[in-house]
C-alpha cells in the first residue's frame, strides 16, 4: 500500500524547526570559537527536517493525506492519562515539601485508587514498593532521600 502523508507529522516538523530556531538564536550569543560545532548540529537537524518535509509533500501530492493523530492516539483515554500526568507532576512537587516517603505514600494510594485497583492489592503494592525502596536505596545504597522542607525541622527536633 502506498504511504500517505500524516498530518500529525506537521507538528513534528514544526517542533524540530522551533528547536533549530531557538538554538540558532542562542548560538549567536556565544563566542565565535564555541559556535562552530553547535552550528553544525543545527544545520544537520534543519537539513534532515527539511528532507522529511519534502518527503511529506511528495507523499501528499502522490498518495494523499491522512490524520496520523488518530492512528497514534487510538484507544487514548484522556481523563485517565491527564489525571495520571497531573498526579505525577504533583508528586514531584510535593516531594520537595513533605519528603519522599510521605509523598510516595499519598501519590501511590491516590493513583491506585483512581485506577480502580482493589484496596487490598493497593495496600500491598504501596507497602511492597516503599519497603523495596527503603531496603535498596535507604539501607543498601545509603541514599538519603528528600525529607521535605516542611518536615525537616520537625525531624531535626525528633532526632
Amino acid at each position: 500500500m502506498k504511504e500517505k502523508m500524516k498530518l500529525s507529522d506537521i507538528g513534528v516538523v514544526l517542533f524540530m524547526y522551533a528547536v533549530c530556531a531557538y538554538f540558532y538564536t542562542q548560538n549567536l550569543q556565544l563566542k565565535p570559537e564555541s559556535q562552530t560545532y553547535p552550528r553544525f548540529t543545527i544545520i544537520l537537524l534543519f537539513a534532515l527536517t527539511t528532507m522529511y518535509l519534502v518527503k511529506m509533500l511528495i507523499q501528499a501530492f502522490k498518495n494523499g493525506v491522512h490524520k496520523g493523530k488518530d492512528e497514534a492516539f487510538k484507544d487514548f483515554q484522556p481523563a485517565q492519562f491527564f489525571v495520571s500526568l497531573a498526579l505525577v507532576v504533583l508528586y514531584v512537587v510535593m516531594i520537595n515539601f513533605i519528603g519522599f516517603y510521605i509523598a510516595t505514600f499519598i501519590f501511590m494510594t491516590l493513583l491506585l485508587l483512581y485506577l480502580k485497583v482493589p484496596k487490598l492489592h493497593a495496600l500491598i503494592a504501596v507497602v511492597a514498593i516503599m519497603l523495596l525502596i527503603y531496603l535498596a536505596f535507604g539501607l543498601f545504597l545509603k541514599v538519603k532521600l528528600p525529607e521535605g522542607v516542611w518536615l525537616k525541622p520537625l525531624l531535626k527536633q525528633l532526632r
Binding site: 507538528g11 548560538n27 543545527i42 534532515l48 505525577v88 510516595t104 535498596a136 545504597l141
Partner: protein, 517 residues
C-alpha cells in the same frame, strides 16, 4: 595468550564473590519479572535499574545490568508460552509453538525447553564475546581524532535505523540528540553553552536521567493512556518440567544453529533479538526431521527461537564494548551504564581495565546458570506476576523512576529533567521518532565533538583531515552501510515473520484437512 587465559581465570575468581552471586540472582529474577510482563521491555528494565549500580564496583554494576538483560530476554518466553502474549518482542516466535504445547497440557515441557535452550544460547554466545571482543578492540588502537568523529557518526547512523518506522525520522532523532548534547560547558574552551541560566547544566544533560525518562517514564505514560484491561489467566502447569534424553538429542543441533544465527544477528548493528527469534524458529523448521509437528507444538520450534534470542545477548555486547556502538536499545542503555562508570569502550577495557572486563565476562557466563536455575524453579510464580495489572505498574514504575533519578546526584532537578525527557520520549514514541537514537547521540555527541574539533585544530581548520586515512574511509563506508542496513533488516524480519506465520497456517490447514477426512 597465556596472559589472556590467566585474566579469564582471575575474572571467574573475582566474579565468584558472595555479593556478586547474590546480585546476579537478584538481577536475573528482576529481569525475568520485567521480561514476562507484556507492558515492560528489557531496555526499560535496565534503564530503571541503572542508578542502583552507581555505588557498586563497575564490574558488579555491569554484571547486574547484564543479568537483567539476559533475564528479561528469557522472561518474555514465560508469558508467551502460558498466556500466548510475548513479554518482549524477542519471544514472539516462541508463542507460536509454546502456546500450542500449553494447550496440549505440555506447558511444563515447553517451559523447560525454553529455559534449557535460553541457557545454552546465552552460554555459547559468551564464547564469541571472549574471543572476538579483544580482537575488535585492538582495531580501535589505530583511531585518532578524525576516526573518533566518524565512529560517532557511524554509531548514530546505525541506531537511527533501529526500532523506528522511518530512517529519516531516526536520523532526525539522532540530530536532535546531538544538539541536546551541546548543552553545558564547551569541552575545549570551557565557555557556557545553552545552559538556561542554570549552573546545573554545566556538565550537560544527565544521561542517566535522560535514559530513565526516555525509556521508563515514557512507558508509564504509554500505559496510562490505554484502557486498563485484565490479562488472560496463565495456564496451569500440569505436566513434569523436563525433557527426555531423546528430546534433548533432537533439540541439540537446533540450539547449535540458533546460537550461530543469534550471535551473528547480535554482532550486526541494527538487528536485534526480535529478528533472531524468527530466524532461529524458521531455521529450526527447515532442518527439522519432524516438520509436521510445527504449528502443533514443536519443542524444536521453541528451542530454535529461544536459543537464538538469548544468543543475541553476548553477540550484541561485542560492538558495544569494543567500538562503543550498541546495536539496539538495550545495549545503548548498557553502554550508558559503562560510560557513567567513567569507562570508555575500546582497547582500554582489554588493557588497563582488563580485570574488570574479564570479571564482567565471567559474571555474564555465571548469569546464564542463574537464568537456568531461577527460570526452572520460579517460572510458575513468574507466570502469575506476568498478570500484574497495568494499574499497579503505573505508580510503581513512576516511583522507581523518581527515586532512581534522584539517587544519582541527590538533586531534585534530576527528577525534573527525567520527567521532561519522559514526556519528550512519550511524544517521540507516539510520532515514530527514535528514543534510542537520542540516548546514543547524548553519549556519542561529546566524543564526536572532541574528535572533530581536535582534528580541525591539528589541521588548522583544513577539513581534508577528516578524509585523510584508510580507517576514515572504512568508517565512512560503514556509515553508508549503516544507513542501508535497516532496509535490509526490515525486509529480513518481514520475510522471516511471514514464513513463520505462513508455514504454521499451512501446517494447520493440512491438519484440519486430515482431521475432517
Amino acid at each position: 595468550m597465556l596472559q589472556t587465559l590467566a585474566q579469564m581465570g582471575a575474572g571467574f575468581l573475582n566474579a565468584l564473590t558472595p555479593i556478586n552471586l547474590l546480585l546476579m540472582a537478584a538481577g536475573v529474577a528482576m529481569g525475568i519479572v520485567i521480561g514476562c510482563m507484556p507492558g515492560l521491555s528489557a531496555a526499560m528494565g535496565v534503564a530503571l535499574m541503572l542508578p542502583m549500580t552507581f555505588t557498586m564496583k563497575p564490574e558488579t554494576g555491569l554484571i547486574v545490568l547484564g543479568a537483567i538483560y539476559c533475564g528479561a530476554i528469557f522472561g518474555g518466553s514465560i508469558s508467551a508460552i502460558l498466556i500466548h502474549t510475548p513479554g518482549t518482542p524477542a519471544s514472539a516466535a516462541t508463542a507460536i509453538e509454546g502456546y500450542q504445547m500449553t494447550l496440549q497440557g505440555k506447558a511444563g515441557k515447553a517451559l523447560f525447553t525454553a529455559s534449557y535452550a535460553s541457557f545454552w544460547g546465552g552460554l555459547l554466545s559468551c564464547i564469541s564475546l571472549y574471543f572476538f571482543a579483544p580482537l575488535l578492540a585492538q582495531l580501535t588502537l589505530k583511531f585518532m581524532s578524525a576516526e573518533y568523529f566518524w565512529l560517532s557518526i557511524f554509531g548514530l547512523t546505525i541506531i537511527a535505523g533501529v526500532a523506528g518506522k522511518s530512517l529519516l525520522k531516526g536520523l532526525m532523532s539522532g540530530a536532535l540528540g546531538l544538539l541536546l548534547s551541546t548543552i553545558g560547558l564547551d569541552p575545549i574552551l570551557g565557555a557556557k553553552r545553552f545552559m538556561f541560566g542554570q549552573a546545573y547544566f554545566a556538565e550537560g544533560i544527565n544521561t542517566t536521567c535522560a535514559l530513565i525518562g526516555l525509556f521508563s517514564m515514557s512507558q508509564v505514560f504509554i500505559l496510562a493512556e490505554k484502557k486498563i484491561t485484565e490479562r488472560a489467566q496463565a495456564a496451569k502447569v500440569t505436566d513434569k518440567m523436563s525433557l527426555t534424553r531423546e528430546e534433548r538429542r533432537i533439540i541439540r543441533p537446533t540450539i547449535f544453529r540458533s546460537w550461530i544465527i543469534g550471535n551473528l544477528i547480535g554482532i550486526l548493528p541494527g538487528a536485534g533479538a526480535s529478528i533472531a527469534c524468527f530466524l532461529g524458529y524458521n531455521t529450526s523448521k527447515q532442518f527439522s526431521k519432524h516438520k509436521e509437528k510445527f504449528g502443533r507444538g514443536s519443542i524444536e520450534g521453541v528451542a530454535g527461537s529461544e536459543a537464538a534470542n538469548n544468543a543475541v545477548t553476548g553477540g550484541s555486547l561485542i560492538p558495544t564494548l569494543t567500538l562503543g556502538i550498541p546495536g539496539e536499545s538495550v545495549t545503548a542503555v548498557l553502554m550508558g551504564g559503562l560510560v557513567i562508570q567513567g569507562l570508555t569502550p575500546g582497547p582500554e577495557l582489554f588493557g588497563k581495565y582488563a580485570p574488570m572486563t574479564y570479571t564482567f565476562f565471567a559474571g555474564f557466563v555465571l548469569v546464564q546458570f542463574f537464568m537456568l536455575g531461577i527460570g526452572l524453579l520460579g517460572c510458575k510464580g513468574f507466570a502469575q506476576i506476568s498478570r500484574l495489572s497495568d494499574a499497579i505498574l503505573i505508580p510503581c514504575v513512576t516511583v522507581l523512576c523518581v527515586v532512581g533519578s534522584y539517587a544519582i546526584h541527590k538533586n531534585m532537578l534530576d527528577i525534573v529533567v527525567m520527567l521532561i525527557f519522559g514526556v519528550l520520549g512519550y511524544l517521540m514514541r507516539k510520532f515514530d521518532l527514535n528514543t534510542a537514537a537520542v540516548v546514543l547521540a547524548l553519549i556519542l555527541g561529546p566524543i564526536g565533538e572532541k574528535g572533530l574539533r581536535n582534528a580541525l585544530r591539528i589541521s588548522e581548520g583544513n577539513i581534508s583531515i577528516l578524509f585523510s586515512s584508510v580507517v576514515c574511509w572504512v568508517l565512512i563506508a560503514l556509515c553508508i552501510v549503516g544507513i542501508v542496513s535497516p532496509f535490509l533488516m526490515a525486509k529480513m524480519e518481514k520475510k522471516a515473520e511471514a514464513d513463520a506465520v505462513a508455514g504454521t497456517d499451512e501446517d494447520l490447514g493440512k491438519l484440519t484437512e486430515e482431521d475432517s477426512v
